[in-house]
Amino acid sequence: MAALYEGYTLCGVGAVQNSSNIGILGVEQGRDIDHVLVTDSSRCITIYKVSDQRATGSWSVKQGQIISCPAVFNTQSQEYVVVTDDKVVRVWKEDDVNLEKAFKATVSADVLRVLSATDSEPVVLFCCGAVRFLDLLLASPQQPIEHVLAEDEIIRWSTIVKAEHQLVILFSTEQRGEHCLYVQRFNPNTLVKHRFETEPCLSAPISFSATCRGSNIHLLYLYLNGSVYESVLPLRSSSTGAEGVLALSRSLCLSLPLGEEKLMSGAVVVLDEAHVAVVGFPHPSAGACKDYLCIWNTHFQTLQACKEMAGRIYSQLWCYSGKLYIPHGKMLSVIPFECQKSSLAAALGKLKQTSQSESKSCSFVSSWTAQTYSDVTQTTEIKSRMATRNNSNVKSVDQLIEHIKTSAVEDVQAEVGEFIRRTPQADLQLAVGRVALELVSRSQTDANFYPQCVFLQLLETRYLCYSVCPELLSLAMVKKDLHLCQIAFQIFSDIPEAVTCAYLKTILSTSDSEMETVNLDTDSVMFMKELTRAQSRSDEEGGQLNGFCSPALESDVSDTLSNKLQRDPLALDMSCPVGLHKGALLNEVLQTAYSDRPLLPHLKDLTVPQVIVFLQYLRFLYFKYCHDAHKQIRALRTPSISQIIDWVCLLLDAHFTVLAVAPEAKRLISDLHKFVRSQVKLYAELGKIEGSLQVLNSKRSEDFGMYAIQVIELF
């Protein structure tokens, strides 16, 4: 649970000139936890003793000068540092009265901010992305400052994180709509650039908050659509920044509810590992009013505490030592808070005692594809293990991969086969992914290289899954290797809906004649053969199926017309609308796991003729199933009737309007409707007698009344 306590006003805030930000540049920690340094944009820096709510010192710059970054306190030298007019660094002590008389130095480039962490030298961050320690900068103020960022790349946000004597500077930049995060580490100096994952509907992150837990930096950032993402960065990184731009892996940890009004700004700050404070977003039950400060639990996605703030809220929020500083209306308020760890699990006896220590350093893997070159320690470990376990005549993974890069298809095939046979199971699991990745990447670059058999071998180990090697399926689809696709669909359980749809589209757009030449899994083809043959057999047997022979049939065997008339109107006069192989592949799609909401948008990509063919096939399957045809067929994998119905529903949902107006779909839809209606009626009637059948069934088993003489035998 978390609680917000009664707050109090620290200070009034001067007139607001530009509307987006209040006249506060920043609130920084002072010389101890009870002091904060408030820098406002009207040339004034004030120190407040928070518990007393009073100012203990104040300095201002001359008219005409502008404070260009929040003042900070250098805990090592017990001095205050501020930058005026972008280039002038001023340093003064508590007992200096006049800022003009304090030490100042003009530097050669525009300073963005001075960042200070306790017990370490402040760091000066320049607008061009360069960083200097303050003492080194002041030793030679006019030293040249290199350009790190591109011309039009602007720093939007920056912070400093300190843990285990390691300083890390994080800043995010914007360049022509592209947003990046830079991670500057010291000793050795490295700068790593990460790119934020972007989605079309998302703009830039509007607020950031970074904390250090264990040996990782947890960066939380908020988007205007209410999503709060978390990225984990290692405190120490082995990468030197030479790799270029890395993707920043992220996980969604909170989705804030949005009101009807369009939001312009907001701020988030991390309170502890489970709680974040958010301003600028509406309270979920208080309507559209945005003037709330809320504490959310990111583990349970629950609102833990909230407070309505008087006056308008700016997207600024700071948190120092158990207190939130929030400017609102014409004042800066201090709101103490408390976050507690829930002990419900402990109460239930489920939790013995949690050790709060974080798991060890999470090796930073930006995505699975990057694994091969991202984490040196991990791969060396694998390497060494493999080296010890394998005898010398089997190639190690690295040797194999080197080989894959150059060898011919036949050689690769032989070697991989050997490798799979010889490698112990546990190591194989780790190695298969790397081998597959390497094979795929070679196939993508080398048009003549496509070792289908090797891929099948790798799939048969069952150690591959979609996420290990996402490119494999797309490669297979590009190469029109439907057999490989089919096997992959049988084995992978984590295929994204988009890929499922792309595959579906590929199948439906391939002509039947082309399809029949493809070599497919025999079991699935057998199933389709049986399914279609069962239909033709019932056609042959005609009226005799029910043990009933119509008189017309007896009198005139050749009179097939009257024979047809006698038959059940529901009996199938339909042939399979697609070829056997296409049907077999479609069956595989039907059995794939999916969730309907992500699937629907992708289903819309299908063209109308494709939809109609697919729907016809589904109708065919559905009718067949209702005639119990499939029960006589022995096959390992068959789509279930509920899967078929689900897909019919999905297809109708996705293309409802199109199907409603398309003339060629009309017959199909009305057929389906009629059939479903009759089924519903049938099941409703069956439902009525279910109860009595149940009673009969239960009675029959054990009913001998009050007395019986039975014979039992014991062996």
Partner: protein, 685 residues
């Protein structure tokens, strides 16, 4: 191995009586259970909940409360009396009237000095517990409405009393009320209904917890008399409360059949400010829960559905064992049916009457698994009502079917049955020897020539029966040891030996010819649940509550080799994990190596000539053996042959014509005769 003709009997309309009160004695680990029919039972919690003692009830008893004071057990009821029980001899010791009208609750203080009872007339009466009796001391301030529930503060200086619409706190010294706390009535239509405080618990930190008919569990502060917190537990009544010994857990039983647990935990990990937090809900009952007790590792609850449910708290259990399984006790651990083996008669013991039935007859033969044609239906020969208000304690029919005997707490009656063709008549034997005034257990010798009656002080009386009447032969007494009541008797087929087992686990063997104590079986830590003497070898076969078995040679006065082998090799895990005790030991005269046992869910034939199963062997192997060809069966079979065709078995007996009588009482039939439970809305009904 063998075919059996089975008389499957389901017409014994036994209805277990609902549970009204529970009292747990932490020192002795005994759970006392009071039922609505006035009977009181004592279960041994650390001996697989074996029902050690049964004190039969009486009409119009209306027990409402139970309380231990040290090792003494007291009850009070709506008849206005307080009863102390003689647990050694399993009978009522005395009853005194409290003169306050019906008593709703009774509770003793932790010091063991006083008992408090809550009466209909609004008084809380204090009784001093003396050496051998209790003595009225005084009344606390009289209230306007009846006292429903009481709880002592652990210090013994204060008492909280639950009444209608309020709770009072009394100072025991002065007898005056310190605080009066009003319990809210329900909202809406139930506003007009009074709020009955069904249960109160007074904690040592001064917190009072109440459960009421509005469905609330409320926490009060006794210093200020104010409500601290309330939890809405149910829409119906909260009928029972119990707190654990270290006061960190509370259970509440509701009329919906749920038990709700509250725990006193800190909301924030590692901090001291603890709160009562609702944690778990158990639903093991179909009807009202009238009593609930939290014992060391489990929650025990009982109610109108007559079953005693032991729900283990898994967080307090270190290892998975038989003690960590949910246990439901439906039927008494005594035999309510006795059979006349030689004449095909069954005697059913109900609380207030006896029924004598003759088994039916079949025609022809049938394949295993089939039912035979019933040529003659079973026939009820006799319906014998008990004289007086006391319920039957024990009963027996002689093997020849000529004698019927039963005993209540106050009297013992012996009848002689005359059966010529269809005319049944009985005559009561009038002049009984004086020693036969009441019995804890009764049995006949196998030739029906003697009646054996277990009496007080572990003594056994021997009476010879003849056409003329009965004649006292002698009394057998154990040489030493304690004098707990005997709950099992067994005679040998040749009439020479008698074995008696008492509730303190003593098994004595007497020589009936010399009428002297022969020997004592070494005492085992678990109670004997069933025993029998082998007809040819004269070995005593004993089953214990912990599912162990022993065979003791009477003549050699030592355990047999087979018994030692069993002890050495150990029994199969699945055998030891069964949760109902074996209730009868029988022998097949045609096959001396067979011992027949049964519990509530199975019949087992132990073939002592076959190898014992170890933990790797398939234990339930009947289906496997059935599917194997004859010649391979031998290699796959082991000594335990279990038949699980039957369930809810009350009695199994092997008749002299080799047929088995299996008396079942299906729980569905019992449930059908219970009153309807509180109707609960389920989905769209």
């Amino acid at each position: 191995m063998g075919e059996f003709k089975v008389h499957r009997v389901r017409f014994f309309d036994y209805i277990p009586s609902g549970i009204r009160a529970l009292a747990f004695n932490r020192d002795t680990e005994r759970m006392a259970v009071a039922r609505i029919d006035g009977s009181v039972e004592v279960f041994h919690c650390s001996d697989r909940f074996f029902q050690e003692k049964i004190i039969p009830g009486r009409e119009q008893c209306g027990t409402e409360g139970l309380s231990w004071v040290g090792e003494r057990l007291f009850s009070a009821g709506l008849n206005g009396g307080i009863t102390e029980y003689d647990l050694t001899n399993q009978k009522v010791k005395y009853t005194i009237d409290a003169y306050g009208g019906p008593i709703w609750t009774i509770t003793g203080n932790q010091q063991g000095t006083h008992l408090a009872v809550g009466c209909e007339d609004g008084t809380v009466k204090l009784f001093e517990v003396n050496e051998d009796k209790i003595q009225f001391e005084r009344n606390l301030d009289r209230q306007k409405s009846r006292i429903i529930s009481l709880s002592w503060h652990p210090s013994g200086s204060k008492i909280a009393a639950g009444m209608i619409d309020m709770i009072q706190i009394f100072n025991v010294e002065t007898g005056h009320s310190i605080h009066r706390m009003l319990a809210d009535r329900g909202v809406g239509t139930s506003q007009s209904k009074e709020c009955v405080v069904w249960g109160v618990v007074y904690l040592s930190d001064g917190t009072i917890i109440s459960g009421d008919s509005v469905g609330m569990v409320k926490l009060w502060d006794d210093q200020t008399g104010t409500l601290i917190k309330s939890h809405n537990v149910t829409k119906c009544d909260v009928l029972a409360l119990s707190v654990s010994q270290n006061e960190d857990s509370l259970v509440a039983g509701t009329s919906e059949g749920t038990v709700v647990q509250f725990q006193f935990v800190s909301v924030v990990l590692g901090k001291d400010d603890k709160e009562w937090v609702r944690t778990r809900t158990f639903k093991n009952h179909t009807h009202d829960i009238r009593a609930v007790e939290e014992i060391t590792t489990a929650v025990v609850s009982g109610g109108m559905d007559a079953q005693l449910v032991v729900r283990p708290l898994l967080d307090k259990i270190e290892v998975r064992s038989a003690a960590s399984a949910l246990r439901k006790i439906h039927f008494p651990h005594r035999r309510l049916v006795s059979c006349a083996r030689k004449s095909g008669l069954m005697l059913f013991q109900y609380p207030g009457h006896l029924e004598l039935w003759r088994l039916g007859e079949s025609e022809g033969k049938g394949l295993p698994g089939s039912s035979l044609f019933v040529k003659r239906n079973p026939e009820k020969l006799l319906h014998l009502k008990v004289k007086g208000e006391d319920h039957i304690h024990c009963s027996a029919v002689s093997p020849c079917g000529e004698w019927i005997v039963y005993s209540t707490a106050s009297s013992l009656r012996l009848y002689r049955l005359h059966c010529d063709n269809n005319n049944i008549s009985i005559t009561k034997i009038s002049k009984l020897p004086k020693v036969l005034s009441s019995a804890n257990q009764l049995c006949f010798s196998s030739d029906s020539s003697h009646l054996i009656s277990a009496s007080t002080q572990s003594s056994v009386h021997l009476v010879s029966l003849s056409q003329a009447g009965c004649k006292f032969v002698g009394t057998l007494k154990p040489k030493s040891g304690s004098h707990q009541a005997i709950h099992l008797l067994a005679t040998s087929e040749d009439g020479k030996w008698l074995a008696s087992a008492s509730s303190d686990h003593d098994v004595h063997i007497y020589n009936l010819q010399t009428r002297k104590a022969h020997c004592t079986v070494p005492v085992y830590s678990s109670a004997v649940t069933a025993m029998g003497i082998h007809p040819t070898t004269n070995c005593l076969f004993m089953m214990y509550a912990d599912q162990q078995m022993c065979e003791y040679s009477i003549e050699q006065k030592q355990y047999t080799d087979w018994s030692r082998t069993v002890q050495r090799k150990g029994l199969h895990r699945l055998w030891l994990e069964r949760d109902t005790p074996c209730l009868n030991v029988m022998f097949n005269p045609q096959n001396p190596s067979h011992v027949i046992l049964h519990d509530t869910y199975m019949i087992c034939i132990i073939d002592q000539s076959l190898p014992l199963p170890d933990d790797k062997t398939q234990f339930y192997n009947q289906l496997t053996l059935k599917s194997l060809p004859e010649e391979q069966r031998k290699s796959h079979s082991h000594a335990f042959k279990l038949c699980k065709n039957f369930k809810d078995i009350l009695c199994v007996e092997l008749m002299s014509d080799q047929s088995l009588v299996v008396v079942e009482r299906p729980l569905e039939d019992v449930a059908a005769q219970l009153p309807a439970p509180i109707k609960q809305k389920k989905f769209a009904t």
